[in-house]
Amino acid sequence: MINPKTLLPIESSSEGLNAVQPKEKKDLVMVNLGPSHPATHGTLRVLCALDGESIVSAVTEIGYLHRGFEKDCEVHTFQQCIPYTDRLNYVSAIMNNVGFCKTVEKMMNIQVPERAIYLRVITCELNRIIDHLVCAGANLVDIGALTNFWYSFNVREKVYNILEKLCGARLTSSYTRIGGLSRDVYPAFGEEVTAVLKEIRKGVLDVQKLISKNRIFLDRTKDVCVISKEKAIAYGWTGPTLRACGVEYDLRKAEPYYHYADFKFDVPVGSRGDVYDRIFVRFLEIEESIHIIEQALRKLPDGPVMTGDKRVALPPKQQTYGNIEGLMNHFKIIMHGICPEPGVIYDATEAANGELGFTIVADGSKNPYRIKCRPPCFMNFAVFHEMIEGAMIADAVANLGSINIIAGELDR
């Protein structure tokens, strides 16, 4: 039998429509996003308390890809640490190589030859482009736009073909050495880079044609997971994600290194700090990186790519086998390693994700006493749970792609 009370119109009940109901935990559903799910790009875990499809509260857990990079470095020589840095942000490995080597070089006051500097700039900017392409392409896949992924990954493959010819590896390049580069470029390098830049422009344009007026894309990204400038700064954000909030901060302009002051390029900034801005700042940065590479290729000087500094550079083979000084020099570097003076140094470069810094504590021996890497995406992910609270699950996935979390550098 029906209880007559339940048939009463709701207005007539004692509390009425506007009465504040206590919010109860039992109405929420707990859902884990990740750690092993395609949408979490590797190994991240987000525990969400859901009210319907809305995220009421979120907690994140990291460390699933923690390998102990910093501990490993302590038992290796400075040169041996370079391959480990490849595995930090594995999407743009050369930028990590450069960041690490630049720190050691600054510590030992080593002058890197001009040609090596220009080649570092060119390869770093190529890496920045592919990093941004991966980020934007994967981000768009996450919100259902698959074709963009092919357009951006096609050109990325072509950049990898160049990197493969350059250093024998596609992903983990280990291209730099302390004091320069492992080898000079091959003869057709300049033409091939110029050709690939053209294709990158076309690829980016193709993607933009597909998305810039696409209603679904705009609805999924505009005003989604907004972060204010003040909050981003308080959480130590740097790089494209900070610039998307409207802060014009780029280490290449703020603390120029490697002749960045001489290159003409702009720093694109966003205005809102939403997912849309974070994606488009990256597209605009690709264009600026292309400008930088073109200028660097024009200015690329001849000369050696490795310093002659006997503390870090192996002597030419004929000297190693031809005279005793060369042999001893070779022996000293191989057996005793590179030994910076004791001290603490912090140095940073503008990597694709933001400020990539290395703090090195040296005690005068051949092994770094302590290395601490400052991964830019660590700071981005530290505030992720607050960004997605109040948003929907699908927005959380869109946001995760836009702040470009690379588990390799996040967990180290």
Binding site: K23, K25, L28, G63, K71, G236, V344, T359, G364
Partner: protein, 174 residues
């Protein structure tokens, strides 16, 4: 900068050196939060970004006579462009340093990492849990006496409900 800090915190500054173009200041441990607050809020200093927190175990450092643990803070001013490096030390038997997580959002995780890896405890930290290692992990891997080959398996996942309950409570859920 140094004069200003010496004037406002006369007992906090233990020494300073300018080696690689960045001023490195040694700070008395108990004053670190006050000094960082001054650096952040003073209109002529404006250190708006906490770049990194680095923990160091000096137990096998050649010629080291100070306390065993060190914490190094890297700060950067966006408006003025300068950087500073602060360092404190903490003794082996009681490695406790005041937290700065109320001043900078990312200090929360950076301090959790330093606790996890080096076993430095940050007083008044809101949630000093391990960050990179799992919750069943024993010891602190970046200490020099932790063997590099020792691995530790995890048997049961962290449910994360302790953090979740706290957040839901903040939001008024009962």
């Amino acid at each position: 900068m140094l004069e200003k800090l010496t004037a406002s915190h006369p007992k906090a500054i233990l020494g300073s050196v300018d080696r690689f173009g960045t001023l490195e200041i040694r700070i008395e441990k108990s004053k670190i939060a006050d000094v960082v607050k001054t650096l952040r809020d003073d209109q002529e200093l404006l250190f708006s970004i906490l770049i990194d927190i680095v923990s160091v175990d000096y137990s096998t450092y050649a010629g080291w006579t100070g306390e065993r643990f060190g914490v190094i803070y890297q700060l950067k001013s966006l408006a003025l462009g300068h950087r500073v490096q602060l360092s404190v030390t903490a003794p082996e038997d009681e490695p406790i340093v005041p937290t700065i997580s109320k001043l900078f959002g990312n200090a929360d995780w950076l301090e959790r990492e330093a606790f996890d890896q080096m076993g430095i405890r940050f007083a008044q930290h809101p949630n000093l849990k391990r960050l990179l290692n799992h919750h069943e992990f024993v010891g602190h891997p970046l200490r020099k006496d932790y063997p590099i080959t020792r691995r530790q398996a995890l048997s049961t996942n962290d449910s994360l409900m302790d953090e979740m309950e706290a957040r839901l409570k903040e939001k008024g859920y009962v």
